[in-house]
């Protein structure tokens, strides 16, 4: 077996508990209960093992990572291991006192999710009255401490037409970065796809607005935004390639190549309760299965882009083409490519199902 390069970064899903109910949540439909969560010492060990393996950044996420009362301790362990620490939070429960403790524990960067630029619409999607206002107060508190701030807005049919307002809001909030992320249609978002997928004309207009604003704001605020898969002709290098740069640890301690990988039914993910991260990353069947290019079917295996996109998204192949090893249907060369446009055509303004336990 050839030597496996070490990962660069990982997502620590500390909990699935969250005060919000966003219908595009990237957590699985089958949410992990608090009783199954890893303990403080387990997370400390994972931080050290990850840094020893070669990871440089940890994204502390969930659910809502602030729901963990031991977040400060976990953060100290990550910081001492030399990891760059990024807190990914809904921030509705982020007090000034807690922010001081987190900053003191070595926090490098805060990413706050916003649902919309319009407060009532944002609160409707989040399923919580007053959430939007609380987030903006938390963002101001982050900036007041000189911490780096990214705002993340998941875009969909109901907010994409307010993209200019989102950009202005992020600028006013003092964000150094704005991530405009199209919903990824796995888990809750897949269940709510018909209510969330934007119309092609909405996407095209937003692409033009973002391109113009990105140029205007250069040096003041960076904007990350990519064409969504449903309108693409080539797949994206999902996670930078399966088991190539990135991994996820679930609240109950399973190591996975991406946060949606659990949707692939016949995969067994190594548990970091009883497996070392080095073993999980380097040798487990789950990380090996779609690593590199040997697993690829045609047309991928002979494609000149096979080491650019690494075959795209396995979970989307499963959801749209019926097999995790199939060509990503985002690619125009996939026999199932037409299903992406068909899903867009079939979408309408149906009600969505809020994320709940």
């Amino acid at each position: 077996m050839p030597a496996v390069d070490p990962p660069y970064a990982f997502l620590a899903e500390l909990t699935h508990r969250c005060p919000l109910a966003c219908p595009y949540c990237s957590n699985p439909l089958d949410l992990a209960r608090a009783a199954s969560e890893l303990g403080t010492a387990d997370w400390g060990r994972i931080m050290r093992e990850a840094a020893e393996l070669g990871a440089m950044q940890v994204h502390l996420s969930g659910g809502e990572p602030l729901a963990r009362r031991d977040l400060e301790t976990i953060l100290v362990d990550a910081h001492r291991a030399g990891l760059y620490t990024n807190l990914i939070t809904a921030a509705v429960s982020l007090s000034e006192a807690r922010l001081d403790r987190l900053a003191g524990a070595g926090l490098d960067h805060v990413q706050i999710s916003l649902q919309d630029a319009d407060a009532p619409a944002a609160d409707w999607v989040a399923g919580m009255q007053g959430a939007h206002a609380r987030k903006l107060r938390a963002a101001a508190a982050v900036r007041a401490r000189g911490l780096a701030l990214t705002l993340n807005v998941v875009v969909h049919r109901h907010n994409l037409d307010r993209i200019e307002e989102v950009i202005e809001l992020a600028l006013d909030a003092g964000a150094g970065r704005l991530e405009i992320a199209h919903a990824q249609y796995h888990g809750w978002a897949l269940a709510n796809r018909a209510a969330l997928l934007p119309r092609p004309d909405q996407v095209r207009r937003a692409m033009a607005v973002v391109a113009a604003q990105t140029a205007r704001l250069r040096g003041r605020m960076a904007i990350d935004h990519v064409l969504p898969d449903h309108m693409a002709v080539r797949p994206k290098a999902c996670m930078g390639g399966w088991g190539r740069r990135f991994f996820v640890v679930t609240p109950d301690g399973r190591a996975m190549p991406c946060h949606a990988a659990a949707t692939i039914p016949d995969m067994v993910f190594p548990s970091l309760r009883d497996t070392s991260l080095r073993e999980a990353w380097g040798r487990s069947e789950a990380f090996q299965r779609f690593r590199g290019t040997d697993w690829m079917p045609d047309p991928c295996r002979s494609c000149e882009r096979r080491e650019i996109d690494w075959g795209g998204c396995r979970c989307q192949a499963l959801a749209m083409a019926g097999a995790a090893a199939a060509t990503d249907p985002a690619c125009a060369l996939s026999p199932a490519h037409g299903r992406m446009a068909a899903a867009v055509a079939a979408a309408g303004n149906e009600d969505f199902r809020p994320r709940r336990f």
Binding site: G54, M56, G82, N86, L147, L149, G176, R177, R218, G219
Partner: protein
């Protein structure tokens, strides 16, 4: 854009550290990893928020035994790229 009078410094949330596993210097930025080469590292070391772009070019030229005219375009291109990555900001802004 960083003008000649801009005073570049590391942006909030950016730090430089050693990547032991890959035996390289690494610029850690929000959700971004940048591996600078030797020249980029020496230019970054000059970006302390006090030197202007103009002064960074002069000092970089001195360091490499060149004239500002010879290295100016390369240094400006490098600073611009680092600004685009979110690594550098203008301290005077």
């Amino acid at each position: 854009m960083l003008t000649a009078e801009a005073r570049p410094r590391l942006a909030p949330g950016v730090r430089i550290q050693r990547d032991e596993a890959r035996d390289a210097w690494l610029v850690q930025a929000p959700e971004r990893l940048v591996y600078p080469d030797e020249v980029a590292m020496s230019v970054l070391a000059l970006c302390n928020g006090e030197r202007t772009v103009h002064a960074v070019i002069e000092d970089a030229a001195r360091e490499y035994g060149e004239t500002p005219d010879t290295v100016g375009d390369d240094v400006r291109a490098l600073l611009s790229e680092l600004e685009q990555y979110g690594v550098l900001v203008d301290a005077g802004r």
